[in-house]
């Protein structure tokens, strides 16, 4: 977040369809919220501030306008936390496989 200068790798945000303009077949909860979009690219203007309207050039060469939503946007997904419900499966299965016949 913060400010960006020309050529920085940034992310812009735009509302594609406002709440109330959604497709008729969309369920009620989705009707109440806008269809939003995020696209990344290189800032084409001299400078930009978070939340302000800017233009970017994407990797396919398209120009996209939107509110500056992030500078050097990070990937935040990860491997999660170890899950107690999964931790013992490995040993259980190996024991079961080595053991005698069993009907489950």
């Amino acid at each position: 977040m913060g400010s960006a200068k020309q050529g920085d790798w940034v992310q812009v945000y735009r509302v594609v369809l406002a709440a109330g303009e959604r497709a008729p077949q969309v369920p009620e909860d989705t009707q109440k919220v806008p269809l939003e979009m995020w696209v990344k690219g290189f800032l084409t203007e001299a400078a930009g501030e978070t939340g302000k309207e800017v233009s970017i050039k994407t990797v396919t060469g398209r120009t996209v306008r939107g509110r500056l939503a992030g500078v050097l946007p990070a990937y935040t997904h990860n491997f999660g936390e170890p899950q107690p419900e999964l931790l013992e499966i490995c040993q259980e299965l190996r024991t079961l496989l080595k053991g005698g016949s069993e009907v489950g």
Binding site: T30, V33, P34, M37, V59, F79, G80, S101
Partner: protein
């Protein structure tokens, strides 16, 4: 300048798609409902030999077929005496982008390049995005992937975030959207703006590309076991995996091999609901796609979907999310293969199916997918917990999609639920009947429907009669 409003763009849909796919679908229309499916596949797609060559050029296909000796031994321990088929897995994660989707993308991108398109666009939140991006990178085309990623809180499904990262790694532009079927509207906007090729999952190229999978595995089973596979389990979502694999098996001459579809049961969760979106741990291979696409395939981003699963499914079964996570652990623990959970849907069904089959029979799981951050049981279960889903060990029968994930206590608890295919065929016929201009149907349309839903002509006639549709219409619209 053209009107870019929602309705205006949707009204131009047929024109936009025609330019972006380069197929005149009208030429295949027959009657009021029917179309010449085999004619379309013959004329628009490529022969299996050509496709194998195209895929070889970009390192796609020829993936190993691995025998699951330990999982087979475990299944036999849990099965009645003499039961427990040999389980084989086609390790599709070995494809360049880590899934069987590379086969579909390889043919689409080759076709796009050959026809002079500068770039390709695909609307997909799945592995297909990375497959298109990877193939486009190899053939020097620009690539845009449009994904449905976030709910209205801006929270992204980890699996889809990972797929977006992979697309960017392959040099694609990723357009990330919140929940909603209007993704298709924005997809059309982008096709019009760029003039790129629509690398739809559902063109003849997108489907025929999977034929090599069925064809290859038939050859591999014959070489390893000296016989045809008795059954092939296919994870089913949009229908392309089932359709392409079954067509490939048929082309290889496997006459008695059963094709069994498998999906994760997500009953009760609405696919376009902002609330439900992040309450599922599987973003594909589930009933939310599997049933609608089976009972009416022509809901895709092309006028005629080349994936027609009811033509090919001998059986369709479901498993639960918790069972698939369990089998994902089992595959790593007993076979030394760490693969993504969604691709293990068919493996989970196979573990139950093998126990019904005889020891000398052969059961093939026809895919695996890569795993990584976001696409891993730990990341999915951490995410599920943060969305208020209860996670427990116990009997998978206690599973409630969107509320409770049950990790089995014991492998013997892994079971399949059969989806009633007669009911699915009936739903298909209801959807078809609703499109008839009047309460009559021509013989040609009747024959199309019978073939397309995998029912006999007499049964279809009888079902339609019960819906008030009379056979022997005026022939309106018939060629």
């Amino acid at each position: 300048m053209a009107d870019m409003g929602y309705q205006a763009v949707m009204d131009r849909k047929l024109d936009i798609v025609k330019k972006a796919v380069g197929i005149d679908y009208e030429q295949f229309s027959r009657g009021a409902l029917g179309f010449d499916y085999e004619g379309m596949m013959r004329q628009a797609a490529y022969s299996i030999e050509e496709m194998a060559k195209i895929q070889r050029e970009t390192g796609v296909g020829n993936t190993p077929l691995l025998e699951m000796r330990n999982l087979t031994a475990l299944a036999r321990k849990l099965a009645p005496k003499g039961k427990g088929a040999r389980i084989f897995v086609k390790d599709e994660a070995a494809n360049p982008s880590g899934s069987f989707k590379a086969r579909r993308a390889a043919i689409s991108i080759y076709h796009a390049q050959r026809n002079g398109y500068r770039g390709v666009i695909a609307a997909t939140s799945g592995n297909y995005g990375a497959a298109v991006a990877s193939q486009a990178a190899m053939r020097g085309l620009n690539c845009i992937i449009v994904q449905e990623v976030f709910d209205s809180r801006g929270v992204g499904q980890p699996e889809i975030l990972e797929k977006g990262r992979a697309c960017e790694a392959y040099g694609a532009e990723v357009v990330q959207l919140t929940v909603g079927p209007e993704l298709f509207y924005y997809f059309l906007v982008l096709l019009e703006e760029t003039g790129y090729f629509n690398a739809s999952l559902y063109t003849p190229f997108g489907i025929a590309g999977v034929e090599t999978l069925g064809w290859e595995l038939a050859g591999q089973v014959r070489e390893l076991a000296g016989r045809d596979p008795d059954a092939v389990v296919v994870t089913h979502a949009g229908g392309g995996n089932v359709t392409g694999t079954a067509r490939g098996l048929a082309k290889a001459g496997c006459k008695s091999t059963k094709v069994i579809g498998a999906s994760v049961d997500l009953k009760g969760l609405h696919m376009a609901s902002d609330h439900d979106f992040n309450r599922k741990s599987f973003t594909t291979g589930h009933t939310g796609f599997g049933l609608p696409f089976a009972t009416w395939p022509d809901r895709a981003d092309v006028p005629r979907n080349a994936a027609r699963p009811l033509r090919y499914l001998d059986r369709y079964v479901t498993v639960t999310q918790g069972e698939v996570f369990y089998m994902t652990e089992a595959l790593a623990a007993l076979e030394g293969l760490e693969r993504g959970p969604a691709g293990n849907t068919s493996l989970t069904a196979a573990f139950a199916l093998a126990r019904e089959m005889d020891e000398d029979q052969i059961l093939v799981v026809q895919e695996t997918e890569y795993t990584g951050a976001g696409k891993h049981p730990n990341s999915q279960l951490t995410f599920a917990r943060s969305n208020g889903i209860e996670i427990t060990r116990g009997d998978p029968a206690e599973n409630i999609p969107g509320r409770r994930i049950v990790i089995p206590n014991h492998p013997g608890q892994i079971k399949i639920q059969d989806v009633d295919l007669t009911r699915a065929r009936r739903s298909y016929l209801k959807n078809a009947a609703a499109l008839l201009p009047d309460a009559r149907i021509t013989q040609a349309d009747l024959e199309f429907l019978a073939e397309d839903c995998g029912g006999s002509l007499d049964w279809v006639k009888q079902e339609l009669a019960a819906m008030g549709i009379i056979t022997g219409g005026t022939g309106r619209g018939q060629n």
